[in-house]
Symmetry: C2
Subunit: 230 residues, 2 copies
Amino acid sequence: MSDSDTSVVSRLRKLIGEGAFRQGERLGEVAVAEQLGVSRTPVRLAFRTLEQEGLLQRAGKRGFRVREFTEADVLCAVEVRGALEGLAARRLAEQGMSPALTAELEFWIQKGRDLLAKGYLEEQDVEVWSELNRHFHENIVGSAGSSVIGDAIARNNHLPFAAADSIIIDSEALDREYRKLQLAQVQHELVVQALRHGEGARAEMLMREHALIGLRYAELLDVGRHAPSG
Amino acid sequence: MSDSDTSVVSRLRKLIGEGAFRQGERLGEVAVAEQLGVSRTPVRLAFRTLEQEGLLQRAGKRGFRVREFTEADVLCAVEVRGALEGLAARRLAEQGMSPALTAELEFWIQKGRDLLAKGYLEEQDVEVWSELNRHFHENIVGSAGSSVIGDAIARNNHLPFAAADSIIIDSEALDREYRKLQLAQVQHELVVQALRHGEGARAEMLMREHALIGLRYAELLDVGRHAPSG
DNA sequence: AAGTGTTGTTTTGGATCCAAAGTAGATATC
DNA sequence: GATATCTACTTTGGATCCAAAACAACACTT
């Protein structure tokens, strides 16, 4: 509704994501309110929202604390996104794609091809990829016939490390990121191929695997870099 | 925290689930507050929680409205639960089950056998099954190595028709429900079998199918009833 | 010495007040 | 007659006040 209502939520979300609070730290309403320069009311509202998002946990009978995340949680959150996006892809393949949706997906696929065509990655390309990646995923999830899947994914994505566009972090090693995006692009194209052919199981499996690219492809990419020089 | 804080949430949740409000109806803070006999403050807090749970939607710039659910939403919510519980089962199968967990699952399986052994269903058996079913599912989801999956399922289950124990509605046709529970029992046993053997893919698939029992098994059960008499 | 009861402090929950934003209705103007 | 603007009313957001619950420290009793 008003700016500050949602803004307190997103400001807190940002602070938590940045690690401004220790994991498990207890958050008092007054302390946070003073820190953000607002009264207790919007903070109280925000705490309820953040609790549901999974970023805060009730601390016993009184107050909230910052949710602690293990490495297993991170992996699980990514797998959850994969499972849900895979479900969306399977449903979409089974119900068939509209020409408009096919064209839309092809458009973003082409954008990816264009981006990677020059053979390397520049700093500003990261933002472009993030955009097209977001559109690609949102189009698939949003066309699965019900907003329930999309809502579940959105809730999962509130965990800062689970979102699809958290692929890119390392803007130092751009050559390495380039190879990662090449793989992501191939996966995108294969997903669309499977969707067009109505191959539900394949679309689901590809989408699920695609979710893991940010976590499990690290060694693969390093091997790829060393092989040509060795 | 206090009773009424959570109680306003659950009272509203119940009212919405019972259809006390029309789908899409706009909910004003003052109106609801008066109806529940509290002030606006706890209602405002509850609205934020219910929004995150997916039961309320923001109505443009002002206020909230009751979320409208289509039949596709119901099916999707059940499939989402299946996908997530399937993911939990696969992870559990791959990481291996502790002896304690195996014993626990066997315990609830045996309870199910006992319940169905007499060959028919009584009114009070429904509650017993609901209990053991809940324990069975919670044990699997809670042992998947991270609470992230369980949280996602819990959020999904806030949709009143999506929860696992919404299997049973029809306490009139107890013979029909008996056959349904027989199938559910078989599925439970097969899931445990797959889990014990570390068959991740099979466990996942079985769990996913199991989620559909409340929706997709209707005709099958009717056929089963008519076949012996024809 | 251990456990229990009491008191004081801290923190949250609920109610109310005020301001701001939004909506609708009416009037005036083109 | 239609559109635009102004005004009055409705509804929500933010701040503050008060009460109640929880936690901690201390003292008292057994």
